[in-house]
């Protein structure tokens, strides 16, 4: 095989995509479309503007933000398991600042700042103490949930401030603000991933850290940034969520971790790092949001829903993982 025939071979491989490639690329679309069809014909209310906008889209935004948050650490071959606790903590902080400290808009950047600090802490322990990110964030998942719950005193806390609430509950030309925030941040993460040095290094670090280091990058710094970004996005999720319902219960955010990771992987970001990106994470998010909503409309028992969701997640991930690149699954 001469060098030129090697390039021919690569081109040929490009042309002859395997079934697996097609499943990976089109799988989430097919699944989403299938679910839309099924629920449109099995329920009367599913395919109505009220349901799609007020229920599906609005509910999807929190999951979208958390899944986008989780995408960047996974791209660089780490993982952030603390996402749902950051949502809880920042949500609780938002309510306390508004209700007990009488703050207005200032509560929002402060709460988001708490999220970023949580991310910074994760990143620092991960890089400086060289603790695997899996363990650091598993620990902070528990720590931050505990702190958040202590602040609530164990019961739902509420605030009254209709003006601030409109940030989340208002609408522009009939489209809910919440959905607009979600889309805006979605676009911003795509720009971050594909048009900035930060994004480039995320992908590169996910494949081989030594190469990036020897090319002169300040590696530690770029390993911390994804965690700070994750804290930022989860903070925004926490704020928008509490503004929407003007309260924070001790278990807001819980149950987001599994579907968020499922959405990321369904979207094509490999847990082994280096491939994928936030642009397709939204597909996985929509699949899960539609499934949730449809099952509610069909009146399926919520415990049964948990079982179905879990099965769908495993099945979707099994279909979308590129097995050719994985030698051993651990």
């Amino acid at each position: 095989m001469s060098t030129s025939s090697v390039s021919e071979w690569i081109t040929a491989q490009r042309e002859q995509r395997t079934l697996q490639d097609w499943i990976q690329d089109l799988g989430p679309f097919v699944m989403l479309f299938g679910l839309l069809l099924v629920f449109t014909f099995t329920t009367e209310r599913f395919f109505t503007e009220a349901n799609l906008l007020d229920n599906v889209a609005k509910n999807a935004v929190t999951l979208l933000l958390v899944a986008l948050a989780g995408t960047f650490p996974i791209l660089q071959q780490s993982i952030d398991l603390s996402v749902e606790s950051v949502v809880l903590l920042t949500g609780v902080v938002t309510v306390v600042l508004i209700a007990q400290f009488g703050m207005g808009l200032l509560a929002i950047p402060l709460a988001i700042g708490v999220g970023m600090l949580a991310g910074l802490f994760n990143g620092l322990v991960f890089t400086k103490l060289k603790v695997p990110s899996f363990l650091v964030t598993l620990g902070t998942l528990s720590v931050m949930a505990g702190v958040g719950k202590i602040i609530t005193g164990g019961s739902t806390i509420t605030f009254r401030n209709p003006a601030i609430r409109t940030i989340s509950t208002g609408d522009v030309l009939g489209i809910p603000n919440l959905v607009l925030w979600g889309l805006l941040i979605y676009v911003a993460t795509i720009v971050l991933a594909f048009r900035t040095k930060f994004g480039r290094y995320c992908f590169a670090l996910g494949e081989n850290e030594r190469v990036v280091e020897l090319a002169g990058a300040k590696v530690d710094r770029y390993k911390i940034y994804p965690f700070v970004l994750s804290g930022l996005l989860c903070g925004i999720a926490g704020v928008l969520l509490t503004l929407r319902i003007s309260s924070a219960s001790p278990n807001i955010g819980s149950g987001l971790l599994l579907p968020s990771i499922a959405a990321i992987v369904m979207g094509g970001t490999a847990l082994t790092g280096g491939v994928g990106g936030p642009h397709r994470t939204i597909l996985g998010v929509l699949v899960i949001a539609v499934l949730n909503n449809g099952m509610n409309l069909l009146g399926i028992d919520s415990f049964v829903q948990e079982i179905i969701l879990g099965l769908v997640v495993v099945a979707a991930v099994a279909l979308s993982i590129d097995r050719a690149k994985i030698d051993v699954v651990k």
Partner: protein, 524 residues
């Protein structure tokens, strides 16, 4: 061409010692294609008991495909394998091992957290009532390696083994899995790639000691090694066998000619007019007493613009660590480096790149390249550091331009800037690593064995590239294991031993080159 071509009939004259006139191992008309590409076409070879066979060819000539077919990893489209005259078909490596055919991988295939004997018995553990018989395995394993003349402690964990010992363990494993066969065939895929001089000698001694007990097939890019160890040599080119020759009749030149199909040059760097009397400029880098703990240094020297400064030394001389030290990858505990007007004390890699020093590591796959990213991403990996001033956005157009320029200037054979580096040949991959520093016009390059593991044609291109760079005023610190290469390329050569330079660097200007012997005398 110096060597004459041997015919099948001549090969057949060599009957195996076991009698019957059959070769111990024979491959007949094997072909294999991958989609549109014919990787192997009608390749035949025959091996007798006790022979060491060399197998050479450029990257992509079909060597790996052939090895994979011989060990059952791949199945041939056409053709037949024979072991002791019996037609066999291998559908997996275990079946091949049952017939005594096994492969010692280029990348070491041992589990470092396990003990030596556990690796030896991996997948074939001795059990009694479902419980491992550790004691018996340990004793048998030690007796087994002792008997082969391999000096390793099988009870030690493999992570404590030296690189050499791991390889010895792999060879022992190859014998171990083919115990049932009276005549094992052991395929060595570039076994010397990670070894330095002393390791090579140990390996060759072992192969020579064991040649009565097995047949070895030795695959390597290093033609002088192939000539040294082999009885006969097969040459593959573009998936076909183009030549068979006895080692006694072949020379590196004749092999090269057969491999690339034209008169070419490993000689390239020796041709006098290829290296002009250097028109050296200002001092580009001054190294002042740099030291790393107590393993490297203190070392002082300076390199001028357009100069190639060679560094040679035996294994453990510290030349590789010194390269890392210059790259900022090891702590500089004492001394300083001055480049482009800045003096750096204990710089990081990032500091050195800022100052204008780029490092090309010895192992491009693990340290040089993002294999599953595009040529563009790999090429621009250093230049994106300070792209667009302080703006966070990348300048994609500039990246693409730099990549296209590099592809043209360096003649990188790739389907395009967005093709994955993984699919390129070794030589083209190495050019991508070099392109990374060209893209940001790095004035000083530290190269550690820059032509390692790439084929003859690509080596020639890399030599020419280095020369072109020096004409533009780039300085190169050229660390190498291949003495002729370093001698041919360099303007001056320093010999390292025990972490320091031995005496003053040799003058190596054209017409005034030191001989290999002169360097070796200083090295040991």
């Amino acid at each position: 061409m110096a060597s004459e071509i041997h015919t099948e009939a001549m090969d057949a004259d060599r009957t195996s010692p076991t009698g019957g006139g059959e070769h111990s191992f024979r491959v007949e008309g094997v072909s294999k294609s991958f989609r549109h590409v014919q990787a192997l076409e009608d390749v035949s070879l025959a091996v007798d008991h006790g022979e060491v066979i060399g197998l050479v060819g450029e990257n992509g000539a079909g060597k790996s495909t052939l090895l994979n077919i011989l060990t059952g990893v791949l199945q041939a489209d056409a053709g037949q394998l024979y072991v002791d005259g019996e037609a066999v078909t291998f559908t997996n490596p275990r079946e091949a091992a049952n017939y005594g055919v096994s492969l010692v991988h280029q990348e070491q295939d041992v589990i470092t957290t396990m003990r030596g004997y556990e690796n030896l018995y991996l997948g074939r553990e001795l059990e009694r009532f479902g419980v491992l018989e550790k004691e018996r395995m340990r004793e048998d394993a030690q007796a087994f390696v002792d008997e082969l003349g391999i000096n390793i402690d099988v009870d030690d964990r493999v992570r404590n083994y030296t690189f050499n010992e791991r390889q010895m363990l792999e060879i022992a494993k190859a014998f171990h899995v083919s115990q049932k066969s009276e005549n094992p065939v052991i395929l060595l895929d570039e076994p010397t790639a990670g070894l330095e001089e002393s390791g090579r000698e140990i390996l060759f001694d072992l192969v020579n000691d064991l040649r009565d007990r097995a047949t070895f097939v030795f695959v390597s890019h290093e033609l002088d090694e192939v000539l040294q160890i082999s009885d006969r040599i097969y040459v593959l080119k573009d998936g076909e066998r183009v030549d068979t020759t006895t080692a006694a009749e072949a020379t590196t030149d004749s092999l090269q000619q057969a491999m690339v199909g034209r008169e070419t040059a490993d000689e390239y760097y020796r041709v006098p007019d290829q290296q002009r009397e250097a028109d050296l400029g200002e001092t580009a880098m001054t190294v002042d007493g740099v030291t790393h703990e107590d393993t490297v240094g203190p070392i002082s020297f300076s390199v001028r613009e357009g100069e190639i400064f060679g560094i040679v030394g035996v294994e453990g001389s510290g030349k590789q660590r010194f390269g890392r030290l210059l790259a900022g990858d090891l702590d500089t505990t004492q001394g300083s480096v001055s480049v482009g007007g800045t003096t750096l004390q204990n710089p990081t890699v990032s500091d050195m790149v800022d100052a204008g020093v780029g490092y090309i590591p010895k192992d491009r796959k693990s340290e040089g390249l993002l294999l599953y990213q595009s040529v563009l991403v790999n090429t621009s990996l250093a230049m994106v550091r300070d792209m667009n001033g302080n703006m966070p956005l990348l300048d994609l157009a500039a990246e693409e331009e730099a990549t296209l320029n590099a592809i043209e200037e360096l003649a990188i054979k790739t389907p395009g800037p967005n093709a994955l580096v993984h699919g390129l040949s070794g030589g083209n991959q190495q050019k991508v690593v070099i392109a990374r520093w060209l893209a940001q016009e790095t004035p000083v390059l530290v190269m550690d064995n820059v032509t390692r593991g790439i084929d003859v044609g690509a080596k020639e291109e890399v030599y020419r590239l280095c020369r072109e760079l020096t004409e533009k005023g780039v300085s190169i610190v050229f660390i190498g294991d291949e003495l002729p290469e370093v001698i041919g390329m360099s303007n001056r050569i320093a010999v390292m031993a025990k972490g320091e330079f031995v005496g003053e660097p040799f003058d190596a200007s054209p017409g005034n080159k030191p001989t290999e012997e002169e360097l070796i005398q200083e090295m040991i």
